[in-house]
Amino acid sequence: MSIDTAPTVSATALDATSGATTRRDILHRLLMTLGPILIALVIAGCILLAVGVDPLAYYGFVLEKGLFSPLGIQQTLTRMAPLLFLAAGLIVAFRAGMWNLGGDGQFLLGAVTAAASAPVFVQIMPAWLALVCSFLIAMVVAMIWSLVPALLRAYQGVNEIITTLMMTFLGTSLANVLVKLAFRDPGTTVPQTRTLPVEDRLPRLFETTITSGLLLGLAAIIIVHLVMTRTAFGLKLRIVGANPRAAVHSGLGVPGLTVAVFAISAGLAGLAGAVDIIGVQGNVRADWNPAYGLAVIPAVFLARMNGFAAIGFVFLLSVLSIGGESAARRLGVPNHFTLMLVSIVLIVLALAEYFDHRYNQSRRA
């Protein structure tokens, strides 16, 4: 819909000198986002009621910890950093018509290699250079990991949905093996990698606990958005996505572009892992898998692969996950409830979009 409504939106913006129409548009969008979220919260609340938890108390904690407490909002903004990188990677893939569903594997391998390399590098080179090198390593490792699905899709025509999913399962296990065997910190009994000292991590923003990774993530997603919408390279990828056969006929090197898309998409997912480790966690524990990758996919899709809209959805996801984690802890609800909350929100939002689209169509006809 972003493709067919974007022109009409900008057209009305040009026509309406007063800006009243755009204001109504913004109001409409806001309503179309908040309304479904409210409905989703009611549905999820009914499930909470059914298991005997007070939904109002739960949502109170979610809002307080995710949005309104100073500490909570800082955590929310910090959590956004890896999610933004993942979303940026997905935007590239989706706009080029490829389903990179292997984000979690790429994320974890990026995280593990960054966690393994950063503490070593900081001892032998200046801190900023060490972090840059770790970021690069994480990116390259994730890119290499995406090579198999990329080559299979580019030269054999194998459906990438399956291959990337399989590579995610492999990547998750491999990351665990690496943490437990190769990169294990000999100094502790807990299976985890060496810890990057707090003072060597990404600098905090101003006087807060928000990591500067947030800025990197915002930069990444905005750059991706601009590249995809304003440059020749982005146009090529969009042509491949819209109609691969036409792309071949117009002389585009589709196999090469396919590999490039996977490399960029996976590289960004690897950076997401690195930014979470170098910015926040400091190390990777065994069996750590936050599964951000899968949760971001529907969010990016709902944002219609628009970078700016994706920032909004990532913020929402971040509030729900930070608030949900802390509410779950206080009320004795298992943490998994957040997963369900997110999925209900996504489904109801998708439904609302659909009905809105249908309504607009019938009004125009």
């Binding site: 298991v51 399989m166 296990s173 999925s343 996504l346 659909y354």
Partner: protein, 311 residues
């Protein structure tokens, strides 16, 4: 290492392989129907989880394994109903809804299990095996293949039933058409949406049954995230089988061997980290895809919602 080739070890390995293969077989057969009808069902993992949880709960409270299978299949079908409404009726994106359903069911089943059993994991009594006379006396193969719960034989019989359905019945042809040329099916006067809905609901019931088997017979208990990617393996099986149920069976057995190696190697005292062994089935899939990927074929209209008069 000599323990690796003993008769007991081999028959335990094969027995485990069959037990591990049945959920994959059911999920793969289910996914196959969906794919034939043009719906890429990524939510199958969620349907299996629903089946595993409800199947376990059904069997736990009723004391009847069969009732458990029934509730499991119903649970899977209930999730499939949501998928059918969202993706077939109103044509939302199948991949996005599939992922959302999988995530949601992961959360929901874990939540329900937590509030029902807290941190305890009650076990079901071991399932009775139906021993097939004579055949089960064959060394190694006998105890591995012919001493299973009755539902295992039914699942294998289903493979042939599906083959018959696809090749010899009108419904089978309709399914095929719904996936390849939905518009043509529509012109022939058959409701595409209804055909696809039937397919998705059947998928859900089979996946749910697979989940119930996994929890009730395979593990004897329910733990959150118990399927651990089995649904996704089912998708691969359906893709590689190119519409033939018998290939799903062989593929499921192959993956079953990989899965059963996990426990078998530990029993044999070979010390390899479980994480590495867990990679085996997925590695097997990747190797199969590299070797045969080009030949995996999917229906023309797979993943595209059908809208009357849209083209």
């Amino acid at each position: 290492m000599t323990g690796l080739f003993s008769e007991v070890f081999l028959s335990a390995l094969l027995f485990g392989a069959v037990t591990a293969a049945i959920p994959l077989l059911l999920a793969g057969l289910g996914e196959q129907i969906s794919e034939k009808a043009g719906v890429l069902n990524i939510g199958i993992e969620g349907m299996m989880l629903a089946g595993a949880y409800l199947g376990f709960v059904g069997a736990f409270y009723s004391g009847s394994l069969w009732l458990g299978f029934l509730t499991g299949a119903a649970g899977g079908a209930a999730v499939a109903l949501v998928m059918a409404l969202l993706c077939v009726r109103i044509g939302l994106n199948q991949i996005v809804i599939g992922i959302a359903l999988t995530l949601g069911l992961e959360g929901l089943t874990a939540l329900l299990h937590h509030f029902q059993f807290s941190r305890s994991y009650p076990r079901l009594p071991a399932a009775d095996a139906t021993v097939i006379p004579l055949l089960s006396d064959i060394p190694v193969v006998g105890p591995a293949f012919f001493k299973h719960h009755l539902i295992v034989y039914l699942a294998v019989a289903l493979v042939f039933g599906m083959g018959y359905l696809y090749r010899r019945t009108q419904l089978g042809l309709n399914l095929q058409a719904a996936g390849d040329k939905p518009a043509a099916l529509d012109v022939a006067g058959i409701d595409v949406v209804r055909t696809r809905t039937i397919a998705v609901l059947t998928t859900g019931a089979l996946a749910g049954l697979g989940g119930a088997y996994l929890a009730n017979v395979g593990a004897g208990l329910f733990i959150p995230f118990i399927t651990n990617g089995a649904g996704f393996l089912g998708i691969v099986l359906a893709m590689l089988a190119r519409g033939r149920p018998i290939w799903v069976l062989f593929g499921a057995l192959l993956f079953g061997v990989c899965l059963s190696l996990t426990t078998a190697m530990q029993v044999a005292g070979i010390n390899i980290p479980t994480d590495i062994i867990q990679m085996l089935p997925f590695l097997a899939v990747m190797i199969m895809l590299v070797l045969f990927g080009r030949r995996a074929s999917l229906p023309a209209a797979l993943g595209i919602p059908y809208e009357r008069g849209a083209r």
